[in-house]
């Protein structure tokens, strides 16, 4: 039996035919749309490696059925840079060594983008750590990650002030 779902992924709207209702958003992105930047860590909502934005909110793509998200707008790590210009969060992760092996990094970056948009953490490192607690890093790059989020937040805030001015 066939199913279909329509998703806008990184700005491109696609009608996607599915032969199986069990496909998660994560598996759809990686296995069927060749967007392998989003990583599968635990596949059970515990590690955050699969974090993407759905309708502007960061979520675990491993725990969402692709069919159920019919009509949603999805942003993945492949969609955050502007051409060759990295997203400020990507730049900050590099500047602060917010990674070692890099496997969790796409999820960390998507989660950080979500955290900054949510606007709850401010410049308090404790609130940043709490807000990033859904992303595990087995290399233990947490200090660099926290510093990167704080730096990126400042960069984004000053960029948006310039836009307003």
């Amino acid at each position: 039996m066939g199913f279909s779902t329509t998703l806008t992924v990184n700005g491109v709207t696609r009608a996607i035919a599915l032969d199986d209702p069990r496909v998660t958003l994560l598996d759809l992105l990686r296995e069927r749309l060749d967007l392998t930047g989003t990583k599968k860590g635990c596949d059970r909502g515990q590690c955050g490696a699969c974090t993407v934005m759905v309708d502007g909110r960061r979520v675990n793509s491993c725990l969402a059925l692709a069919l159920s998200l019919d009509g949603a707008d999805v942003l993945t790590i492949e969609g955050v840079a502007r051409g060759e210009a990295l997203h400020p969060v990507q730049e900050a992760f590099i500047a602060h060594d917010g990674l070692q092996c890099g496997y969790c990094t796409p999820g960390q970056i998507m989660s950080a983008i979500g955290l900054i948009q949510e606007g709850q953490a401010g410049d308090d490192p404790e609130r940043v750590r709490e807000g990033m607690s859904g992303n595990l890093c087995r290399c233990g790059a947490y200090q660099g990650i926290t510093a990167a989020v704080l730096t990126a937040q400042k960069a984004l805030a000053s960029a948006s002030r310039k836009e307003v001015a």
């Binding site: 909110r57 675990n60 725990l63 969402a64 059925l65 949510e118 607690s133 859904g134």
Partner: protein, 352 residues
């Protein structure tokens, strides 16, 4: 994961009809259900996707001052709703003490109420579990049961209910609106979940197909806003389930407690309203020894179900601390670490 029929009803009425069939399950965000299905713990033959139903995602203030929360409101949306968090701060703090930001962005209020226990033996399809497979036995008895129930448990099941939200809602007399084949009815949240008894497989009082459409908090629940906290002891400070938690809410007239609410989490298979403790507090003057007496009353019926006698002592400490924090006053801003015993609360000593 087993395969299943996928249906997406257009109305609540169609959803109820589709979900009343044996083997059917409601799908909201799926943050708990898909995890259970991947582990082979849950194997519904039909998923009834309710996420596209209209009008279930609103937070409405009612004419009498109460608030009605649609079943599809996301956990994060509710916790960060300014007006809601100002009037019901213990509910917001409970929500933000649970799961991760990603899960809170997806998980719904209705789904939170109906999430399943995190008992490791329930969640391991190879273990004996009377809840999953009635009559199979309980591997948690005699197993690793440090985190299991100390109140309301039975020989057949010693699991706990994992929700933080439900604890705060139980303390504040929340009511659950349910739609079923026979129409709409209301259930006090406190009686939604069943204690295990001999039938731990029957987890709630819901009939087949009955769907939670909303949760209501009465206007009176907002009278506790100035003195309402949620405190949650976990094995790590963030992104962990409660070992023991408590929602404490006081209505103070100067330093006399006009009315008190206490509910405990992590201690039983349902959010545990401690009315005996509330009675100890009502009409009394705020005082450390009073809080200890209230805590003793709250845990008077507790008994260990395994290697967890420590939880009885711990729960009393959590009740005393939650009451102390509530008496000191709701902080103006949500603490950086919601519900954490390590968080410094403005106007309160974290070690009060």
């Amino acid at each position: 994961m087993n395969s299943f029929d996928y249906v997406r009803p257009a109305t609540v009425r169609d959803a109820v009809a589709a979900a009343a069939e044996p083997g059917a399950a409601y799908l909201a965000a799926g943050t708990n259900l898909l995890d259970l299905m991947k582990g082979g713990v849950s194997a519904p033959t039909r998923l009834v996707d309710v996420t596209h139903l209209r009008d279930l995602d609103r937070i409405e203030v009612l004419p009498d001052g109460g608030v009605r929360i649609g079943a599809l409101v996301r956990n994060a949306e509710l916790a960060h709703d300014r007006d809601f968090a100002r009037r019901f701060p213990a509910v917001a703090e409970a929500l933000l003490s649970g799961a991760s930001a990603q899960l809170r962005n997806a998980a719904t209020v209705g789904g939170n109420l109906l999430q399943r226990t995190r008992c490791a033996y329930f969640n391991d399809a190879a273990s004996a579990c009377n809840k999953r497979n009635p009559g199979a036995g309980c591997d948690a008895r005699g197993g690793d049961n440090r985190l299991h129930a100390i109140l309301g448990w039975s020989e057949s099941c010693i699991a706990t209910h994992p929700s933080d939200l439900c604890v705060a809602l139980a303390a504040l007399d929340a009511v659950v609106e349910v739609e079923g084949r026979a129409g709409r009815r209301e259930i006090p949240l406190e009686t939604l979940h069943r204690l295990p008894g001999d039938t731990p497989d029957r987890e709630t009082v819901l009939e087949p197909g009955e769907m939670i459409v909303a949760v209501r908090l009465p206007a009176a629940a907002a009278r506790f806003a100035a003195h309402a906290r949620y405190l949650k002891v976990r094995e790590r400070t963030s992104y962990a389930f409660a070992i023991v938690s408590a929602a404490a809410a006081l209505r103070l007239e100067v330093d006399v407690i006009a009315e008190a609410r206490i509910a405990l989490g992590g201690v039983a298979l349902k959010p545990w309203r401690a009315r005996e403790a509330e009675q100890v507090l009502a009409g009394a003057r705020v005082d450390a020894s009073l809080f200890r007496r209230a805590a003793a009353a709250a845990l008077a019926a507790a008994k260990p179900s395994g290697d967890n006698a420590y939880k009885i002592e711990l729960a009393q400490g959590v009740v005393v601390r939650a009451l102390t924090l509530a008496a000191a006053g709701t902080p103006e801003r949500m603490p950086a670490l919601p519900g954490s015993p390590f968080a410094a609360a403005s106007g309160a000593s974290a070690h009060g």
